[in-house]
C-alpha cells in the first residue's frame, strides 16, 4: 500500500424511512498515484460525494477500507484529516472571521507546526493575492474572493492529499477557470488530488485519470486516452454515456 490513496471495496448503506435501505456506494475500489489529479466523474446522486465523505472521515464506511497516506479512515481518522484538505460546496467559511484569522485557524487546528503558521499564512495570502482583503471579514468578501480563501484554508496545513468535491458549482466561468488553474498548480507542486465533478470539460482538462461512477459503482477507471481506446469514442461526454448505458445493461 504505497499509493497515497487506496480504496478497497468501499460500501455505504443508508436507511431511509420511505425508501428503506439505499446503497449509496457499492464496492468502490481505486488508487491514486502521487502527484496526479484523479477525477471522479458522475451524475448527481452517483455516489461521488458519499465516497469522498468517507475518505475525509465525515462518514464511516459500512464495509470495505480506505487509507490516506497509510492512515486508515476508520482506525485513525485524525491521522487521515491531518494529511488531507477537503473542499466542497458544503464546506463554507466562518463569516465573522477575517481572511487572515481563517487561514491561521485552519493551519493551527490541522496541526501545522505552530512556529511556522505565521509564515504559512503570509505565504497563502500572497499566493492567492488576498493582501487587500487579509483583514476583511469573510462575510464582506465577494464569491470569487471567498472561493480563494476557501482553497487557502484547504491547503493551510500543507496536506499531501486534496479532495475537491465539485469545486466549481455555482461559480461564474472566470472564477471556475481560476479554481481549475489553482488545482492544476497544486498538482505541479506534487499534491495528490481527487477531483469530483459532473462537468465533462473540467474532467477532460484537468484529470490525469478518470473514474466513471454511476449508481454507487465505478464503471471504468483509466486515463482519458485509455477510456477513448476502450470505447472508441472521442468526447468524454460520449464515453461517459456509453459506460453508463452499458453499466445499466450489466446491472
Amino acid at each position: 500500500m504505497n499509493e497515497p490513496v487506496v480504496v478497497r471495496n468501499l460500501r455505504k448503506t443508508f436507511y431511509d424511512e420511505g425508501r428503506g435501505e439505499i446503497k449509496a456506494v457499492d464496492s468502490v475500489s481505486f488508487e491514486c498515484h502521487e502527484g496526479e489529479i484523479f477525477g471522479l466523474l458522475g451524475a448527481n446522486g452517483a455516489g461521488k460525494t458519499t465516497t469522498l465523505r468517507m475518505l475525509s472521515t465525515i462518514l464511516a464506511p459500512t464495509s470495505g477500507s480506505a487509507a490516506i497516506m497509510g492512515h486508515d479512515v476508520i482506525r485513525n481518522p485524525e491521522g487521515v484529516r491531518k494529511n488531507l484538505g477537503f473542499y466542497s460546496a458544503t464546506t463554507a467559511l466562518y463569516p465573522r472571521l477575517t481572511t487572515r484569522e481563517t487561514i491561521d485557524f485552519f493551519a493551527r487546528i490541522n496541526q501545522y507546526p505552530a512556529d511556522l503558521v505565521q509564515e504559512r499564512v503570509d505565504y497563502l495570502i500572497d499566493r492567492f493575492a488576498l493582501a487587500k482583503y487579509a483583514d476583511a471579514r469573510i462575510e464582506k468578501l465577494s464569491s470569487g474572493m471567498k472561493q480563494k480563501v476557501s482553497i487557502a484554508r484547504t491547503i493551510a496545513h500543507n496536506p499531501s492529499i486534496l479532495i475537491f468535491d465539485e469545486p466549481t458549482v455555482g461559480l461564474d466561468v472566470l472564477n471556475a477557470l481560476d479554481v481549475q488553474e489553482t488545482i492544476s498548480e497544486l498538482r505541479s507542486e506534487g499534491k495528490t488530488i481527487i477531483f469530483s465533478t459532473h462537468i465533462m470539460s473540467e474532467a477532460e482538462r484537468l484529470c490525469d485519470r478518470i473514474a466513471i461512477i454511476h449508481a454507487g459503482h465505478i464503471l471504468a477507471c483509466d486515463t482519458l486516452a485509455g477510456l477513448r481506446q476502450n470505447t472508441q469514442q472521442h468526447y468524454l461526454e460520449d464515453i461517459f454515456v456509453q459506460y453508463v448505458k452499458s453499466g445499466h445493461a450489466t446491472q
Binding site: 475525509s56 472521515t57 465525515i58 462518514l59 464511516a60 481518522p77 485524525e78 484529516r81 491531518k82 488531507l84 477537503f86 466542497s88 460546496a89 458544503t90 464546506t91 463554507a92 467559511l93 466562518y94 463569516p95 465573522r96 472571521l97 484569522e101 485557524f105 485552519f106 493551527r108 487546528i109 490541522n110 496541526q111 471579514r137 496545513h157
Partner: protein, 408 residues
C-alpha cells in the same frame, strides 16, 4: 482530549461570537443594561403612581362622630387631602365611587374611667386605589390622634407614655450584613434567567448556526477528534452563560445601589457578603455547565437558527418554572429542595447572599448539579455518534431522536 486543539477551537468560537450582534446583545449588553433598566423603570413608575395617589383628594364621610374628640374632627377638616362629605346611602356611593371611605364611630360601653373610648369602623372598596388611599389616610389620622391622646392621659396621672401602656414590644433586627430584602429575592431569579438567555444564542450559533452557514462539515474535517470539537463548543456556550449571569449580577447590584437605593433608603441593603463568593461561583459554574449542555443538545438538532430557537424555548421555560415556584414565601433550602436541579442552585445562591450556609443541602446541590452536567455530556456524546446527526440530515427534534434510537 487535546487541550491545545480545544483551546484553538474555543477561541475561534469566542472570537466569532464577540462579532455577532445577536450574541453580543443577548449575552453582554442585555444583562448589563436591559434588566437594570426595566427594574429602574418599574420602580420609577411605582414612585410616579404613588406620587399621583398622594395628590388625590379622599372623600371621607364621618358618621356618629363622638363629641368628646372634637380635636380629631378638626384634624380631618384641616387636612388638605381629605374632603369630608355626607351621603344618604354610603354603601351605594362607595360602589359608584362618589365616596371613598366611611368612618363610623361607636362608643365602647365600659365601667372604666376612660369613658371616652370609641371604636372606628372604616368601610372602603379595596378594588379602587382612591378608596384604599382614603382608608390609609383615615387610619393614620386616627392612630396618630390616639398616640397623642394616650400621651396626654399618661401625663395627667404622672406617668410616661411607656409606663402608661405597661406592655411594649421592642424589635431588634440581627440581620446586619445579611440583607433580607428585595435584593436577595430578585437577584437569584435574574441570575438563572440570564444564564438561560446568555447560553441560548451561543448554543444555537455553535450548532444550528454552523449548519445554516454550512460550516458544520468544514469543522468536521479538521484534524482533531469530534470530542474535542464538542468540548470546545460546550465550554464556549458555558462561558457565555456564566458571563451573562455575572455581568447581570454586577449590573443589578450597581444599578440598585445607585438608582434604587435612595428610593428605598435603609430598607434596601446592597451588601453581599464576600464569604458567599466561593459558593455562588461554584454554584453558578455548575449551573452554567448544565444549562449550556441542555441548550446545546436541543439546539444541535436544528438545521436553522429559527428551528434552534423553537427547540430551545421549552428548556428555557423549564428552567424558569421552578425558580418562579420557589418564590413562594416560606420555602426553605432543605435537602429535598436540593435534589431539584436549577432550583437548588437558586436557593443556595439566595442563602449565600444572606450569609447563610446550610452545608448538607449545599453538598447535595453540588452533587446533583455535577451529575446533571455529566449526564448532559454523556447524552451529547451518544448523540454525536449518529451520522445523520453529524451530517445534519436527521429531520426531527431531540425527543423524536431519543424515541427512535433508544426506545425502539
Amino acid at each position: 482530549m487535546d487541550p491545545k486543539a480545544i483551546g484553538i477551537l474555543y477561541w475561534r468560537e469566542i472570537r466569532s461570537a464577540l462579532r455577532d450582534r445577536t450574541i453580543v446583545t443577548n449575552s453582554i449588553l442585555l444583562p448589563i443594561f436591559l434588566y437594570p433598566l426595566i427594574i429602574w423603570l418599574v420602580y420609577t413608575g411605582m414612585t410616579f403612581v404613588s406620587g399621583q395617589n398622594e395628590g388625590l383628594k379622599s372623600r371621607i364621610m364621618l358618621k356618629n362622630f363622638p363629641a368628646s374628640h372634637e380635636t380629631l374632627k378638626r384634624e380631618f377638616e384641616r387636612d388638605q387631602s381629605v374632603i369630608l362629605v355626607t351621603s344618604s346611602d354610603p354603601p351605594a356611593d362607595l360602589r359608584t365611587g362618589t365616596l371613598d371611605a366611611l368612618v363610623e364611630f361607636a362608643p365602647i360601653q365600659s365601667a372604666l374611667p376612660t369613658a371616652n373610648n370609641f371604636t372606628a369602623r372604616i368601610t372602603y372598596d379595596e378594588s379602587r386605589d382612591a378608596s384604599s388611599q382614603a382608608r390609609l389616610r383615615a387610619t393614620q389620622k386616627i392612630s396618630r390622634y390616639r398616640e397623642n391622646y394616650l400621651e396626654q392621659q399618661a401625663l395627667k396621672v404622672g406617668l410616661s407614655r411607656a409606663q402608661y401602656q405597661n406592655f411594649w414590644i421592642d424589635d431588634r433586627n440581627v440581620s446586619s450584613g445579611r440583607e433580607v430584602g428585595a435584593l436577595t429575592v430578585v437577584l437569584p431569579i435574574f441570575f438563572i434567567i440570564m444564564l438561560a438567555v446568555g447560553s441560548m444564542h451561543p448554543a444555537i450559533d455553535s450548532t444550528a448556526g454552523e449548519r445554516e452557514n454550512s460550516t458544520w462539515e468544514t469543522v468536521m474535517t479538521v484534524a482533531t477528534s469530534r470530542a474535542n470539537i464538542l468540548v470546545a463548543k460546550y465550554l464556549y456556550v458555558a462561558t457565555m452563560a456564566f458571563t451573562a449571569a455575572f455581568l447581570n449580577l454586577f449590573a443589578m447590584i450597581f444599578s440598585m445601589g445607585t438608582v434604587l437605593g435612595p428610593l428605598f433608603g435603609s430598607n434596601l441593603s446592597l451588601r453581599i457578603p464576600l464569604a458567599s463568593a466561593p459558593v455562588v461561583l461554584i454554584g453558578a459554574l455548575l449551573l452554567a455547565l448544565f444549562v449550556a449542555g441542555g441548550m446545546m443538545i436541543l439546539a444541535s438538532f436544528a438545521r436553522t437558527y429559527k428551528e434552534g430557537q423553537a427547540m430551545t424555548s421549552p428548556f428555557y421555560i423549564a428552567l424558569i418554572i421552578p425558580v418562579m415556584f420557589l418564590q413562594t414565601p416560606g420555602v426553605e433550602f432543605t435537602p429535598r429542595i436540593a435534589l431539584i436541579p436549577v432550583a437548588n442552585v437558586m436557593m443556595m445562591i439566595r442563602e449565600a447572599f444572606q450569609g447563610v450556609y446550610h452545608w448538607r443541602p449545599i453538598g447535595i446541590t453540588l452533587a446533583v448539579e455535577t451529575a446533571c452536567v455529566i449526564l448532559a455530556l454523556r447524552v451529547a456524546m451518544l448523540v454525536i455518534r449518529h451520522e445523520d446527526f453529524i451530517l445534519g440530515s436527521y429531520n426531527g427534534s431531540f425527543g423524536k431522536f431519543v424515541k427512535e434510537r433508544f426506545f425502539r
